[in-house]
Symmetry: C2
Subunit: 242 residues, 2 copies
DNA sequence: TATCTTATTGTCCAATTGACAACAACCCAA
DNA sequence: TTGGGTTGTTGTCAATTGGACAATAAGATA
């Protein structure tokens, strides 16, 4: 491809960018949600006639004076109403032809959450918002299918090497709930006493000194994550090897 | 910080960008090199008066019609003469104030190579190029020290979870050479017998039935990587736990 | 041949793991 | 009131692994 001084002329409408954003740089969010033991992803339906009926990752333009992660949070909330989750940078996608009218590089952020804990509100520039099953994705704009595929692969790898997935649980939870989560993600059965020992030795959980309510059997102790250890483990990067 | 429609006015000279690059988007390369059992990083000395004497990661602007990794390879070769290595995307750094005069987001790429296998040639816009010891870095421009610190942490994590670094060794190598490699990257001393046991149990190495030549002591056995196991381990993503 | 250096094997003990037994708590129904 | 059902929690034990280090082997050299 030859070096050119200006963007290539295109038959498609040029972008109508807001004034205070960084041209050629966007954010796209991959929010994976566990919904009844099924993995889904948060998508928004496009409004503009050009992409009518197609879906997209919730994303958009980064403001000139806005940090990358802040932009990710803002765009996600604007488009879907989803907030209060932890977004982590995934990868930057910048194939020359990934965007039709201009050269646009996009920085992908991702999160893994419990789908039922969030209520979706379609923003102004979204025709619809919903959790879509990973195994039956609708038609997506640009290279968003490719980005999702990369995110999936990454997620499957990460789940074994980082304490992610803990935000899928309520603030206070039982050890069996945590175990069930791991069993679902890793698709295996785990030994209850051994799982307990292993988790507890990490000093990741602090007992709430409260018990489960309304169960027809002995009530289990409730635990919460120790945010300090959790942060340490997240930063240092460790192995679960459960 | 208020939203603004144009870049902030600064007392520093504005950027004098070539015409065919993407404004606000750059590449920086972290090339880690093992040099006599010491871990170093490839840096270039700045020429412009503003940063005189300071060093920087080899990087620069991405062309409008150039894929990200292609830009990384081009810039690395232009500045340092280093080519024929595998660059992998590390992370994108975009703090609002990371660059003094404008908003610039940079995409970092990294590689791990054997320093002595490359000859350095300082490019036109570089006053000097050299391998600098990680443990005694010179003064760096912008947030490059921060980027290097992130890259180091990433490297140390990767080395425990992926069989990377094996391309730093000759085809046939001794166990002590392999151990020295790990010690350099992890910056620790390892027990020789234990390291041997652990590595051998992975079935990653096959003996060449040859011995080291010309050493003034007992010659060690030479090994090579078993490409099949190596590939399996790379793909599945495993734990070394060394 | 004595001695030096490094390679390689062996040993010991502590810590960890996995499988499973045993006991505790609580609900519920007879 | 009592005993069975269910799940939580603690304990046990053999097998495996890990780290520290001793012991031996194989050259090279003085």
């Amino acid at each position: 491809m030859p070096n050119i001084a200006t963007p290539p002329i295109s038959h498609v409408e040029p972008l109508n960018l807001p004034q205070n954003v960084i041209k050629a740089l966007s954010i796209d969010n991959l929010v994976f949600g566990l919904d009844e033991d099924e993995l889904k992803i948060l998508l928004v339906k496009q409004t503009d006639p050009m992409h009518e009926g197609k879906w997209a990752l919730p994303g958009g333009w980064i403001r000139y004076d806005e940090n990358l992660r802040d932009a990710a949070y803002r765009l996600l909330e604007e488009l879907t109403g989803v907030k209060q989750l932890y977004l982590e940078q995934l990868k930057t996608f910048g194939r020359v032809d990934r965007f039709p009218t201009e050269r646009v590089v996009t920085i992908a952020y991702y999160a893994l959450v419990s789908a039922e804990h969030y209520s979706l509100v379609a923003g102004q520039s979204a025709a619809d918002v919903s959790w879509q099953s990973i195994s039956a994705l609708p038609e997506l704009i640009y290279d968003h299918a490719e980005i999702i595929a990369y995110g999936m692969k990454f997620l499957q790898h990460q789940v074994c090497h980082q304490p992610i997935g803990f935000n899928l649980l309520p603030e206070k939870f039982t050890l069996l709930q945590l175990q069930a989560l791991y069993e679902a993600i890793l698709n295996t059965k785990l030994d209850k006493p051994n799982f307990r020992r292993k988790i507890m030795k990490m000093d990741l959980l602090t007992p709430c000194n409260e018990k489960q309510q309304g169960v027809p059997h002995r009530a289990a102790n409730l635990y919460r994550f120790d945010p300090e250890t959790y942060k340490q483990l997240t930063e240092s990067g460790f192995s679960f090897e459960i």
